[in-house]
Amino acid sequence: MRISVEINGRAYEGDVEPRELLSDFIRHGAGLTGTKVGCEQGVCGACTVQLDGEAVRSCLMLAVQANGRALRTVEGLSLDGALHPLQRAFHEAHALQCGFCTPGFLMSMDAFIREHPDADSDELREALAGNLCRCTGYLGIVEAVEHAANEMREGNAQRD
């Protein structure tokens, strides 16, 4: 089936079998390998991308279902070469070691913080539960996300 998907503002076209997962189309069809594939059962969160602004598991969608929709992947997170506040905070707080889970964390938490700009520490931790990390022990990730949430909130305040 012929599909056309907008990813990070650019149109990608491809021929896919109905059974092709969106995660595989992103990586192999569009060549955007920032999105990682872990468990393929919706548990680990590594493949999380944003579909029309909502965080979704790309391994739990068929590529055909994204036809005509707009996706955002980790490649679309930085703006004009400047790191996103979450990316900067992850870097500074040592919130990654191998980095395999990081794109999923970033895309999940960017969507969550935009919807819940006033989320407190407990709510941020709850939101983090949908992504697994095998390296860090999470403390750095929690610190990074709390820091970035503050920064994103202040950024919004300045724009208002």
């Binding site: 089936m1 079998e17 059974r19 393929e40 919706g42 391994c59 279902q65 999940s108």
Partner: protein, 265 residues
């Protein structure tokens, strides 16, 4: 793993979808349970009928009294609904515990009902609320209540050519309170046990356990006891009676107590 080969159809309306349903054909709603089953090749349908394009099944309204939820309504839409939070707070409490936010953004209310996982929150809450489930087939339409629909683990009375189109939730009695409590080993994981309770003046009591029985069912002896003035702890212990496995029984008794006390405050 990757899904097996299947044919794919994406009808744009219920009328178009109904003739496509049948044996060896699977309805794809939010896909948050079906896609793992496909990826693990535990499901191998010939045809997948993707109902995500059926806009007429995506609504939450309460114009004529009861809450009406279209089967394709995303769980996140239910979670964000002010109407639901205000007038059917049990549903709001329950849906917040479904998976993770990245799951609720795709998962649907109807999909959760039809999948009928004994550890799923929405079937338990809907059973406690006395919901009716509206099914359509090429031959007609029927409505079932929870005790008629939920038959066992991953097993409902829905026929292969039937499509769940709407969930109807009656208005809660005046002065009703509700509570939902569950225990999962890690947040967002499938719950080991849980309980929903709705209590209103005049002897209205509904108690339903999660993960305790093959299908969600009202704990009627406990409800009667509570309506007759029993302490929450006593009613909760009655509700948990008969739950197999000592640990789960203890969890159910404690979680039912919490749900009942939350409903009564």
């Amino acid at each position: 793993m990757k899904p097996p080969r299947f044919e794919y159809s994406a009808p744009a309306s219920v009328e178009e979808a109904l003739p496509l349903l049948g044996l060896d054909r699977t309805v794809l709603a939010g896909g948050q349970s079906l896609l793992p089953l496909l990826n693990l090749r535990l499901a191998q349908p010939e045809l997948i009928v993707d109902i995500n394009g059926i806009a007429e099944l995506d609504y939450i309204r309460a114009d004529d009294g009861p809450l009406r939820i279209g089967a394709m309504t995303r769980q996140v839409t239910l979670e964000r609904s002010e109407l639901v939070r205000r007038r059917w707070p049990l549903l709001h409490k329950a849906v917040r515990l479904v998976g993770h936010h990245q799951i609720r953004s795709r998962g649907t209310v109807g999909g959760s009902v039809v999948h009928a996982d004994p550890a799923a929150e929405l079937p338990v809450a809907l059973t406690a609320l006395g919901a009716r489930f509206h099914l359509r087939s090429p031959g007609g339409a029927r409505a079932l209540d929870a005790s008629e629909l939920f038959l066992g683990p991953l097993y409902t009375a829905r026929e292969p050519d039937e499509l769940l189109v709407e969930i109807e939730v009656p208005e809660e009695p005046d002065g009703a309170g509700s509570g939902f409590a569950e225990h999962a080993r890690t947040h967002g994981d499938f719950a080991t046990a849980g309980a929903a309770a709705v209590v209103a003046p005049g002897g209205h009591a509904r108690i339903v356990l999660l993960g305790a029985h093959p299908a969600p069912a009202r704990a009627e002896a406990a409800e009667r006891a509570l309506a007759d003035g029993a302490e929450p702890r006593v009613a909760a212990a009655l509700a948990a009676q008969g739950v197999e496995d000592e640990h789960r029984r203890a969890l159910c008794a404690e979680l039912a107590r919490r749900a009942i006390e939350e409903a009564m405050t």
